[in-house]
Structure formats: structure tokens, C-alpha cells
């Protein structure tokens, strides 16, 4: 006889499994055993009509849910990302015993406290708007995910507890063992936050690649199968890496804001240093991000040809061009910030002569990166070409060219960073010339390999190899980056410093590059989030639960871009509020004669 698994047990196991990524098979087996009996208990996905969607006070339900979901997601990314950033910075501070890192980490956790409550408020708004405007969808999803939703809510207690102790105990838990306890609390905070994200990811990926249900949407009772659906892990990886980069960019924007409003050189130096570190972490996470995105897109295509084509070849293809432009903007602004930052060192002149060559390669790769697959041609141009096919630009419009371009952009960004690091150092080892020659050979061989893989496998083999070739391309890029960092560390071992770094000696326009980084990230997340959700088109749950609301149609690209842009502006305004409130909390006014002596 099948033994029913207590619901509490499933939920607890789910949370533990999501937290540790272990015990997965065991949980699956238990749930499957439980499944047969449970299948009879669950109804099929409801077949709805327009009358099933309440109309409330003339509010456009899709736009309301869209904006609340987007704002919640941005803040959620913010409050998940900043503690990851803070944890890394605190750990660096402990390792280097440089108190500036600890102070910076504290300054940031203070900022995220306000953002935390805004996240919760927006999460509540999203939940209410879903229940009010899409009651049947919410009811269906909560039937399947009832345990995970319940534990999702409970996990907020754990997160709040960890966050408050982490923040309020910052100055109390200092030095020796206490500092280790504090860092562990930071780890717990991040683990809980990440688990919360993984659970929410399961619900949204279930809507794209439903699992644990039959063709009519009847739930088998296997909650793990529904959570561990086809697109869950690709989204988890992409969001986790993106959150680190996003956290870095938001912190960078904060530092830029404080740098521009700084009252003296000391303050400028501090916020310049903070901006540099934030940008460094953002770049480190940005480098693997295109690969995580490509993996997600390839998995979407593998799951459903229809969603894959809608995503990149169909109606959303032009939003992908905007995405390409924004990603290129991220790389350009990150590089520009590094180049401007070279002015902090008196020894930078030796390397600045190479900047123009790096810029040529970066811009060239960027142009390939955003060349569209479907060209917009005037009738004259159509006639001149003899059709919509362009023999030169056509091949640049497909993924092998994009993958090659982005790998080259990443390698040259790493080169910019290497020059930045070298700017203030003089190597003293006798084999410095040989070392530099090996560096040049490493970069040249890596780029040649990336070009070969992209051109040969991208255009002269079938799609299996075409897609698979992206993996050795990525590995080549990683080997070049890791190899050059390792080699440089040997070349500059025991090297001399040119002089002290002049923190604060950076043009103000470099700070706008940091703003651009944060704004481009935010906008990008909004646009890509819309695309990810929109490729389901007229389905609430793909192929299982149809959207019968009056808004089931896919809006025009301009309309969607406007909604995302308005939401991005609201978010930016709220972030400025968060920065301001963090500043106000440290301001003090002493009113003369107001209080009794």
C-alpha cells in the first residue's frame, strides 16, 4: 500500500533540497510513490472564459500584475544581490584586515534594510493583484505548489532574523571568533535568500515548462517533479550570476552618487575606491553572464521549438537587438570606467597607448553582436540586394557570430583589466620579456581558437556542433583569463609599485559610466523578463492552461518597451529614495534651545 507522505514532510524536504541540492533523488522517489494516490485528488487545469477574469475599477489587470511583478523582482534582485556583495566584501576585509572593506560592507547592508521592506510591500502587491485579477490561475498554481508557497512564506522569518542580527549585530560581532560568527550569519542570510529565489523560480518555470502534470494539467502529486521542471536550473543559474553583477552595479551607482556629492577629497577617495570595487565585482559576474544566458536560451529552444523561435527568430527578435545593444553598453561602460581609472596611477602612461586598439576590437565585436538577423531594408535597398538576404551581414545575424563576438569582447575586457592592474606596477623578475611574450601568445592562441570554433563549427557543421561549439569557446575564454591572471601574478611577484594609487583622481564622467551600468542592467532585466514571460504567448501554463483574458494577446514591441521603461523609472525613483533615506539616517540636527537642559 502506498504510504501518503505528510505534506509538512514534503515541504520541509523541498526547502532542504533546494538549499543544499542534495537528497533530490530520495525526495523524488518518495513523492513519486505518493503520486499515484494523489493524482485522483487534483483537478485538471481550468478552462476559462473572459468572464472568469474580474474587472476591478477599470484597472488594466495585465499591466498592474506586470508592473508589480517587475518592481518586486528588481527589489528582490537588489536585496538578494546586495547581501551576496556584502558577504564577499566582508570576507575580503577579514582576509586583508583592511577595515575599509568592513565599513563599506556595513554601509551597504544598511541600504538594503530599507530595500528589504520595499521588496516585501511590492511582493504583497503582486500577490494581491494576482489573487484579485487572475484568481483561477493563482488557485491552480497554489494547488500544485501549496507546500512550497507555505514554506516560501516561512522562510521570510528566517531571512528577516538573519538579516536583522547580521545588520544590528555588525559592531557587536567584531574580532576573532565573533567575526567568524558574523560572517557565518551572512552566509545563512544568503543561503536563505537564494532558497527563496529558487522556490519562486520553480513557479515561473513551471508556467513555461510544466512538469509533474499530465496533458490536462492534472497534478500527479509529485511536488518535486513540478519544481524540478526543465527550465528551473537554467533560470536558477542565470539569475544567481546576474544578481551578483546587478548588486555590483547598484552599489557602483550608489558610490558614483556619493562621489559626485562628496564634500572633500577624503570622501571622494573613499567613494572612488568603493565604486572601483563594485565595478570589479560587477565585471567578474558579468563575464560569465552571456554564457548563462546562452545556456538558458538553448534550453528553452530544446524544450520547445515554438518558444525558441518566438524568442529569437520570431516576434521578440527585435527586443533581442535592444538586449544586445544594452549588453554591449554594459561592456563599453565597464571598460570606459577602467580606462578612466588608470589615471589613479602615475605609471599608467605605459599602457594607455593600447586603449585605442582595445576600443577598436570592442566596438567591432559589438557591431557584430547586435547585427540583426532580420535586416530592416528600404525598397531601394531590397532591390539593390535582390532580396532580403545579405551575403555579408546575413551570416553575422546568427548565433555563432554572436558567440564569437561576445567571447572576444570578454577577452578584451579582461585585457583592459590586466592593463589596469599592471598600470601601477613594475616587474622585477629577469624573465619579464619572456613572460610578456607568453601572455601575447596566450591571448593570440585563445582568440584564434575562438574564431576557428565560431567560423568552422558555426557555419560548416550541423546545429548540434554549432550549439556545442559554444562550450569550448567559453572554456577558451576562461583559460585565457585564468592563465593570464596566473602568469601576471608570477611576473609581478616581488615587483615594485610605481607610487601610491591616487584614489579620487578620476574624471567625474567615469561616474556616469557607473550610472549607465546600473540603468542598463535594470532596463535589460525588465525587457528580458518580459520576453521570458511573453514567449508563452496566450498560455498561462504552456499548452496546459490557456489565457482567456481580454489581454491574452501579445502586445506590440513599442507598448511592451514603454511599460518596462515606465516601471524602470519608478524603480529608479524608489532606489534614489532608498539611497537618500540611508543618508538621512546618519544626518543629525541639534536644535538650539528646543530641549530642556
Amino acid at each position: 500500500m502506498n504510504r501518503p507522505l505528510p505534506k509538512f514532510g514534503i515541504g520541509l524536504a523541498l526547502a532542504a533540497a533546494a538549499l543544499t541540492f542534495t537528497g533530490v533523488e530520495q525526495l523524488g522517489a518518495l513523492a513519486a510513490e505518493h503520486g499515484e494516490a494523489a493524482a485522483r485528488l487534483y483537478p485538471p487545469a481550468p478552462k476559462l472564459s473572459a468572464a472568469d477574469y474580474p474587472s476591478i475599477a477599470g484597472v488594466n489587470s495585465r499591466v498592474a500584475v506586470w508592473i508589480f511583478a517587475q518592481l518586486h523582482l528588481w527589489f528582490a534582485a537588489f536585496v538578494l544581490a546586495v547581501p551576496i556583495f556584502v558577504f564577499i566584501i566582508e570576507a575580503i576585509g577579514m582576509r586583508t584586515r583592511d577595515k575599509r572593506y568592513d565599513d563599506m560592507a556595513y554601509e551597504f547592508i544598511k541600504v538594503s534594510i530599507t530595500a528589504y521592506s520595499l521588496t516585501a510591500i511590492l511582493g504583497g502587491m503582486l500577490l494581491f493583484s494576482l489573487i484579485l485579477f487572475y484568481p483561477h490561475l493563482f488557485s491552480y498554481l497554489s494547488t500544485i505548489f501549496r507546500e512550497s508557497m507555505f514554506y516560501y512564506a516561512l522562510l521570510f522569518f528566517a531571512e528577516s532574523a538573519a538579516l536583522y542580527i547580521y545588520y544590528y549585530g555588525w559592531h557587536w560581532l567584531q574580532g576573532g571568533f565573533r567575526k567568524w560568527v558574523h560572517l557565518t550569519l551572512g552566509l545563512v542570510l544568503n543561503a536563505v535568500g537564494t532558497t527563496i529565489m529558487l522556490l519562486a523560480n520553480a513557479w515561473l518555470t513551471f508556467m513555461m515548462s510544466p512538469a509533474g502534470v499530465d496533458g490536462a494539467g492534472v497534478f500527479s502529486g509529485d511536488a518535486w517533479a513540478a519544481i524540478h521542471n526543465f527550465l528551473w536550473n537554467p533560470i536558477n543559474i542565470h539569475r544567481f550570476v546576474a544578481n551578483i553583477a546587478y548588486g555590483g552595479s547598484i552599489v557602483g551607482a550608489y558610490a558614483a552618487f556619493k562621489f559626485l556629492t562628496a564634500s572633500g577629497p577624503r570622501e571622494r577617495a573613499h567613494y572612488d575606491w568603493m565604486g572601483y570595487n563594485a565595478n570589479f565585482i560587477a565585471i567578474c559576474a558579468l563575464l560569465p553572464l552571456p554564457f548563462a544566458g546562452y545556456y538558458l536560451a538553448a534550453e528553452i529552444y530544446a524544450y520547445s521549438q515554438q518558444m525558441g523561435i518566438t524568442l529569437m527568430g520570431g516576434i521578440f527578435a527585435w527586443l533581442f537587438i535592444i538586449q544586445a545593444v544594452l549588453i554591449g553598453t554594459l561592456f563599453l561602460s565597464a571598460n570606459y570606467y577602467l580606462w578612466c581609472g588608470m589615471g589613479r596611477s602615475d605609471g599608467a602612461k605605459r599602457y594607455t597607448k593600447y586603449i585605442k586598439y582595445i576600443a577598436i576590437v570592442l566596438v567591432g565585436a559589438f557591431l557584430v553582436w547586435f547585427t540583426p538577423h532580420t535586416l530592416v531594408l528600404t525598397n531601394e535597398e531590397l532591390k539593390a540586394l535582390g532580396g532580403p538576404h545579405h551575403k555579408i551581414l546575413g551570416p553575422l545575424g546568427i548565433m555563432p557570430a554572436k558567440n564569437t563576438a561576445v567571447n572576444v569582447m570578454i577577452i578584451f575586457t579582461a585585457l583592459s583589466f590586466m592593463f589596469y592592474r599592471r598600470a601601477n606596477k613594475v616587474a622585477t623578475v629577469p624573465w619579464v620579456k619572456a613572460g610578456n611574450a607568453i601572455q601575447v601568445a596566450l591571448y593570440a592562441a585563445g582568440i584564434a581558437n575562438i574564431l576557428f570554433l565560431g567560423i568552422y563549427h558555426g557555419y560548416f557543421t550541423n546545429t548540434v556542433y554549432k550549439v556545442a561549439a559554444s562550450i569550448p569557446q567559453v572554456l577558451t575564454t576562461l583559460v585565457v583569463i585564468a592563465g593570464s591572471i596566473a602568469l601576471d601574478s608570477f611576473i609581478y611577484r616581488g615587483g615594485k609599485e610605481v607610487g601610491p594609487l591616487h584614489w579620487g583622481r578620476i574624471p567625474e564622467r567615469a561616474q556616469y559610466a557607473l550610472f549607465l551600468l546600473a540603468v542598463a542592467f535594470t532596463w535589460l532585466m525588465g525587457l528580458m523578463g518580459y520576453i521570458r514571460s511573453g514567449i508563452r504567448q496566450h498560455w498561462h501554463v504552456l499548452d496546459i492552461m490557456r489565457d482567456a483574458s481580454p489581454d491574452a494577446f501579445t502586445p506590440t514591441l513599442g507598448y511592451a518597451a514603454n511599460v518596462v521603461s515606465v516601471a524602470a523609472i519608478i524603480f529608479m525613483a524608489m532606489v534614489i529614495f532608498v539611497f537618500w533615506i540611508a543618508q538621512v539616517s546618519s544626518d543629525k540636527t541639534l536644535p538650539a534651545g528646543y530641549w530642556k537642559d
Binding site: Q305, G314, I315, L332, T371, L377, N462
Partner: protein
């Protein structure tokens, strides 16, 4: 004589702009679309200014002539000339851009319409995610028979498809000039090489009228070939399309 930085920047931009036109339009004989050229030049300009402004010295030198033009009392005459010319040029540019023309508006065409998950073809409901070419396995199992099928597919293609898609499968058949948009070029790496065979089967069998409701209205004069050809004939034609162009259909398993 050293060229002032501002002039250097202008010369670089002009060089890149005309370079694109010369390389694409003259040397390669494949015009660069004006919409793309604008996008390219926007980011080339950004790149040029990034290189010229990453340090204070370069920035000062770059903006010095502009600053002098605005602030230097001795440049009054030049300033007045520039201050008249710039708004006039902007106005003329706006006028030219906004002027009504007989040119058809630009169109964002979707090359690959997304297929439905299932479609009714030859009276059966088929799942396009799982549908496979029944003859594909013969490529390895019985190469001789496979060649025969490819030749039969070629005959079907020549009798029915080449009028639009061309005898070289390059989208340039005798009727192509009369169609807008022009028929698809199968030699292009961005067309059938990107697609699964089930996609081609759906697209050929259901033609223009079978295109999805989403993103309508579609412009396609592709006939509904299931009304004229047998199911086997479509699959054989698909074998021929890949064989002739040298492309492989999109698959998810190894060969």
C-alpha cells in the same frame, strides 16, 4: 603638424562612415542598410569619444576648440556663423526626415514565424515538437535508397518550387522579382540550417494560410502544399533542400 583632437575625431568618424559605404556598396556590392549604418555609427561615435575622453588631458584638448568658440571674444564672428548654421542644419535635417515620401514604410519582418505545438496536416493532428522525417534514418541505414529519395525530392522541387525559390535554392526563381517579400534563400545559413525538419514540413504543408494568428498579419504567398502534394513528396523535398544546400537540419541528438 599635429592634427587637433576634435578634427581627428571628426576625420575618424567620417573615415569609418565612408569606409562602410565603400566596402559594402562598392567593393562587396552588397549595400549596407541605412537603418543598420545609423546604429553602427552611433556606437562607433561612442567608441571614438570613449578613446578621446578617458583622460583629462585628451578631454581638454578635444573640447578646447568648442570652448574657445563659445567663450573666446576674438572668435565672435565665427561663433555667430556657427550659431546660425547649427540650428539651420538641424532644422533642415528634421525637415528632410519628416517630409512625406512615396517610399513604403519600413517593415520589421519576422523571418521565422513560430510554429504551433500541434497542427492539423493531411487530416491528422501532428505534434511538431516530436515529428521527424521518416526518411532521415535511411541516410545511414541505406545510403543508396536515400540518394534515390533525394532525387525524387529534387524532381518535386523542380516541378513545383523552383519558380519562386530558384533552381539554385537561392530564392531567386523566375517569379521571385514579382513577390514582396521575396522567396526565402535556402542557401543562407540563417534559414533552413537553423530549423528542424518538422518546421519545414509544417511551413510547406500549410503555407501562408497556416501561419500562426500571433504577430499577424503575415505576408506570405506560399501555397498550401498539402492540397497539391503527397505527404511523402514533402518529406522527400525536405531531404533534397538539405542535401543540395549542404546544410543539416537542426537536431538535438548527435549524428
Amino acid at each position: 603638424m599635429r592634427i587637433p583632437k576634435l578634427l581627428q575625431a571628426v576625420l575618424v568618424l567620417a573615415g569609418v562612415y565612408f569606409g562602410f559605404i565603400v566596402v559594402f556598396d562598392v567593393i562587396l556590392e552588397a549595400v549596407i542598410p541605412s537603418s543598420l549604418l545609423v546604429m553602427y555609427m552611433f556606437f562607433v561615435t561612442a567608441g571614438v569619444f570613449m578613446v578621446f575622453t578617458y583622460d583629462e588631458e585628451g578631454t581638454r584638448e578635444l573640447v578646447a576648440p568648442i570652448k574657445a568658440l563659445v567663450e573666446d571674444p576674438s572668435k565672435r564672428v565665427w561663433r555667430n556663423i556657427v550659431f546660425v548654421i547649427v540650428p539651420l542644419a538641424a532644422g533642415a535635417g528634421t525637415y528632410v526626415q519628416m517630409q512625406p515620401s512615396f517610399e513604403a514604410p519600413l517593415e520589421l519582418r519576422t523571418i521565422h514565424p513560430a510554429p504551433p505545438t500541434t497542427a492539423k496536416i493531411y487530416g491528422k493532428r501532428v505534434n511538431l515538437l516530436k515529428l521527424e522525417n521518416p526518411f532521415r534514418k535511411l541516410e545511414k541505414e541505406d545510403p543508396e535508397q536515400f540518394r534515390e529519395l533525394v532525387e525524387e525530392g529534387a524532381a518535386v522541387y523542380i516541378q513545383n518550387c523552383q519558380y519562386c525559390h530558384g533552381d539554385k535554392l537561392d530564392g531567386n526563381g523566375p517569379y521571385a522579382a514579382g513577390l514582396n517579400p521575396t522567396p526565402l534563400n535556402f542557401q543562407d545559413v540563417g534559414t533552413i540550417a537553423q530549423l528542424q525538419e518538422s518546421y519545414l514540413f509544417w511551413r510547406i504543408a500549410t503555407g501562408g494560410p497556416g501561419l500562426p494568428k500571433e504577430a499577424a498579419p503575415w505576408i506570405s504567398s506560399m501555397p498550401v502544399w498539402q492540397n497539391f502534394l503527397k505527404e511523402d513528396e514533402i518529406w522527400k523535398t525536405i531531404l533534397f533542400l538539405y542535401d543540395y544546400t549542404g546544410h543539416s537540419p537542426r537536431t538535438w541528438g548527435n549524428e
